[in-house]
Symmetry: C2
Subunit: 210 residues, 2 copies
DNA sequence: CCACAACTCACCCGTTCGGGGGATGGACTT
DNA sequence: AAGTCCATCCCCCGAACGGGTGAGTTGTGG
């Protein structure tokens, strides 16, 4: 048996234990093999150049960095990169960002081993792979609530306890303008006040606490 | 070589990949061995009775259940249980709850393999194991901000966008009483409004979005 | 070129908040 | 019995909030 057809897989995750878990599962498959493990964004780029893996398993949230950004960089440099994002979180925004960045698939870390290797094979073949239900939600979020740049900025600052006036000062606009943005923000998130907006934004992945 | 002295380890985690990672690392050690893997709280109890492991590696946040609760239940039934909590999150409250529930140690999932096995040996010996810096923070949080039952309940509801009056109705008290609790809540969390309180509460692990 | 979305600002208005004070009763400690 | 903590309630008041409506300016894209 030759190994020439084995799918070369690279993991990008800052959790050693998760990397070990993935590596163990992948290496148990006869048709795939871990060729590199990156624990950070820059390292991912470096190792990709070095090993030219067929599939990249990308964690979405790494210490400081964002898996979406890394995916963008990767796809910019290597247009043929096949990225499968694996994340703990099912915030709509995370998923959206990942796919927008060029990822071919999305998986939750709660996946069982079989799903993982199935997904890897699909991604390797250049096909998309999304958990059931996720595709539907994407359409919703695309048609429904996509925030503008301003609304995003305001959302970030909302959780910091800034008052409307302070928000205006930070952004360099009037308090009235801030209120206008807040109104459309509340409408889009379907909430009625800032506290609820903060929680909802976290749930959807617009902002993070850590 | 006999295996009679091998440390029997059980994992409790709802992420198969993490279980595999931990199992791989542990089983590579000559002096320890995975004897059971639980993916839920009830299953953890069941498997503990069956295998009587020396050390339990407990994830703090499982689907629906809480690692702290499981730890409590475990320690209640088996006073000699040696639990090592492994969590993604470094919210003070999570750590506090885990230790209060009877856990001997706390680790972040970002640990490298060596730290994990070191910790397992310490816990097996009945000693505590805490990452550097965590012990300090525990003292802070004990002296500083510990919330009362009412404040906790209110915090939970704050993120749902309830107004003070509605909070009162839900809790069966006056709006004025709610405001009193909110004042002391803001003081303890060192915030100035509900939106900031929600984010801070999430950061510290008092409430969760998922 | 025109439509459309985003961003900007303004005004009004009723409601809610946040922060300050003080007070009572129960429970638990010392 | 005194002290402390918690929960409950009350009052006051200025500031902040949310919601509604209208309207001007960009810039992008059909």
């Amino acid at each position: 048996m030759t190994t020439t057809s084995a799918i070369k897989v690279m993991t990008v995750d800052d959790h050693p234990l998760v990397r070990v878990g993935i590596a163990t599962v992948v290496n148990q498959q006869p048709d795939m093999k871990i060729v590199a493990e990156a624990e950070s964004g820059p390292r991912a780029l470096e190792l990709y150049r070095q090993h030219q893996p067929d599939v990249v398993l990308m964690d979405l949230r790494l210490r400081g960095d964002s898996g979406a950004r890394i995916t963008s960089a990767l796809c910019a440099e290597f247009s043929g990169a096949h990225v499968l994002v694996i994340s703990n979180y099912d915030g709509d925004e995370d998923i959206h960002q990942a796919l927008a960045a060029g990822a071919l698939g999305y998986l939750f870390k709660s996946v069982v081993e079989d799903e993982l290797v199935d997904a890897i094979r699909e991604i390797n073949a250049g096909r998309r792979y999304l958990p059931k239900g996720v595709a539907d939600r994407l359409h919703e979020s695309e048609s429904g609530a996509r925030l503008t740049r301003r609304e995003d900025e305001i959302l970030d600052l909302l959780g910091k306890g800034l008052r409307n006036r302070e928000l205006g000062q930070v952004l360099g606009v009037t308090e009235d303008t801030v209120k206008t943005h807040l109104k459309s923000l509340f409408r889009k998130l379907q909430v009625s006040d800032r506290a609820e907006a903060v929680r909802e934004a976290m749930r959807r992945g617009f902002i993070h606490s850590e």
